[in-house]
Symmetry: none
Subunit: 199 residues, 4 copies
DNA sequence: GATGAATGAGGCTTCATTCAT
DNA sequence: TATGAATGAAGCCTCATTCAT
């Protein structure tokens, strides 16, 4: 997977890096192709050699990052034996990614939602893979009796994803630091035991 | 409710209605001022008599809707005696709003996030009020011993808000129906008891 | 002359004052009718009750001020017996006006030049009267033999007017103080004796 | 002279020429970007590839012309041996420029004054250079004892510049012919000897 | 693989002005 | 005398995109 970028033309690489760089500071809409080209040190025209349009560039950047993220999470989960460990690994690693890879977080949490054609892009495939990983854990836990079985697994999945995203969102929006262990820990606690008084 | 908007110039009202109407079908960016004016039956210039710019119009539309939403939720919560009832009311009513007021949901869940100046707008004040309502319930529950006290109340609040939003998001994005009672019910269950095997 | 503004409707007065006030700080083009109305405390519509259009307002403001200026200069000149005294009075008083009445100076030195219809306005009549006053002095001086006679009186007039205006211009443009006596004195010296080595 | 503008993109050249052409007949404000583009035979968008905005275009046109003017004046002055010759050359050449280069005259005498950001533009640098040339002559004359020394050199400079400009202004405003030798000659006479009766 | 000049569509916004009340 | 809602024309400018070299 994730071909080691062998043979990638330098122009293409520079363009993708330029967008990533610019998105550290600005939203996608605020970034112009002229700016991307300037930062990349190429001409605007070259962008269209490698990318169908400006959004395609965004999607490809996202895809590349997302592949790395998925590998990371999978690797981390594979180390865990029990089901709660794997769930914790998924959550913790996701939060860690949002905390450290701000551009990735920006794109996935903010930019992409208002772009209708995202959901037919290859990058969206990554979202499905990612989402399916969590769903897999949940199904497994239900099957094994470790998790309660009276819930719709997709609802449950969305609840978890939403909880993760929202706790990270403000950090991303306002460039605030994120307490990874704290967020992940509290989330796991709520999910395991609920908010009723600890018994 | 919804103050009879005394003295509001008709043009202003028509413009706001036009945007709401158009946003049933398209994203904010895809809507042009020309289109708004045409649907409202006024000239483009009039928009700028009442609104600083196109985004200001969006924020004012959102604010107006949000005020109604807040009133609705508050009214509903005031009917409940116990703390879990109030929590349930908040969640259930929020989901109901997302399910029925698609434009409101669109704006708050999707459009607004990529607009940096939203967070300095008056409409954002509504978000804070709304968010504070939930936080109030949580604090109350912690103080009374009904909720566990080993969690950061703001984390908890964000977990809940995220869970609500995400479960509604896909319905909003793809114009799917939303099973209000189902979503709210499952969410409350998770929150109360966690996903551990039902005892 | 210059009717003591008897019976002038208050709205009209307020509008003219508003423009004068605003022109202390901004150029005419940068000032909008909306701003004028706001400062005057009237509605935009009222402006068009009293003035044909925005430029007409400018011209009437200028005319009113110019009438005062002409009276001042004339009064001052009438005190002088000899021809050089009158010339000095004209120059000195003009510089004094530019130094103290910045709005007047702004309009006459800057704004009005790019407005083609100014030269058919009543305010332009004031310019002619003013200009004629200087020309009168010069003609008188030539006739009496006090001034050299080998020059075209209109060229001479323009040379003097230009010298006055330009020495004041930068003060007006950049809100700098103006050394009235200095400017007028040096000007008179040059005009009387030239720049050849003092004999 | 007038560097062969090597490598200047043709579009850029055509745009600048178009503005010069249009300003023969109309004021800057009356000229629209659409008109400029039409006359240049390019699209409006291209204007903004080469010029920050419409005013920037004006300033660059002015700068280009002003550079030529300065070269002309300097060349002419360099031919003169004595100080009065150089002063005369400066005045005469300036008047000649105003008489023949109407667009240049228009811009410098009329348009530019009401544009606040002109004074921070590169074109304004030319004004300073030009103005400094005259001041240099005056300082030289004072140092050598050819000119009287009891005057502030900058006042004197402004008096001369104003006299030149004003005598040319009406010609420029009303498209009248200008008697170059006459204007320059009379001006020099006044300046040398004053208006006192010829001795 | 890369350039860079040029396009073109249309977006947002401004503002003087009018008119019914 | 004054209001204020509404107009309408057009202006400036942006920016993704193309194409010949």
């Amino acid at each position: 997977m994730a071909v080691p970028s062998r043979k990638q033309p330098p122009g293409r690489i520079k363009i993708m890096q330029a967008l990533r760089l610019l998105m550290e500071e600005q939203g996608f809409d605020a970034i112009t192709t002229a700016e991307i080209a300037r930062v990349a040190g190429v001409t605007e025209g070259l962008i269209y050699k490698y990318f169908k349009d400006k959004r395609d560039l965004l999607y490809q950047v996202l895809e590349e990052m997302f592949e790395g993220v998925i590998l990371r999470i999978r690797a981390r989960m594979d180390l865990e034996k029990d089901i709660f460990g794997r769930l914790h690994a998924f959550i913790d690693e996701t939060v860690a990614v949002y905390a450290t890879q701000r551009v990735f977080a920006r794109i996935i949490l903010i930019e992409v939602r208002s772009l209708p054609d995202f959901f037919t892009s290859r990058a969206y495939g990554c979202v499905r893979v990612y989402s399916r990983m969590l769903q897999g854990v949940l199904e497994e836990g239900m099957a094994s009796g470790d998790f309660r079985q009276d819930l719709d697994v997709r609802f449950l999945r969305d609840i978890l994803l939403g909880a993760i995203e929202h706790t990270c969102l403000w950090g991303v929006l306002f460039h605030r630091e994120l307490d990874v262990a704290g967020v992940a820990g509290q989330l796991i606690t709520v999910v395991r035991e609920g908010i009723g008084p600890s018994t």
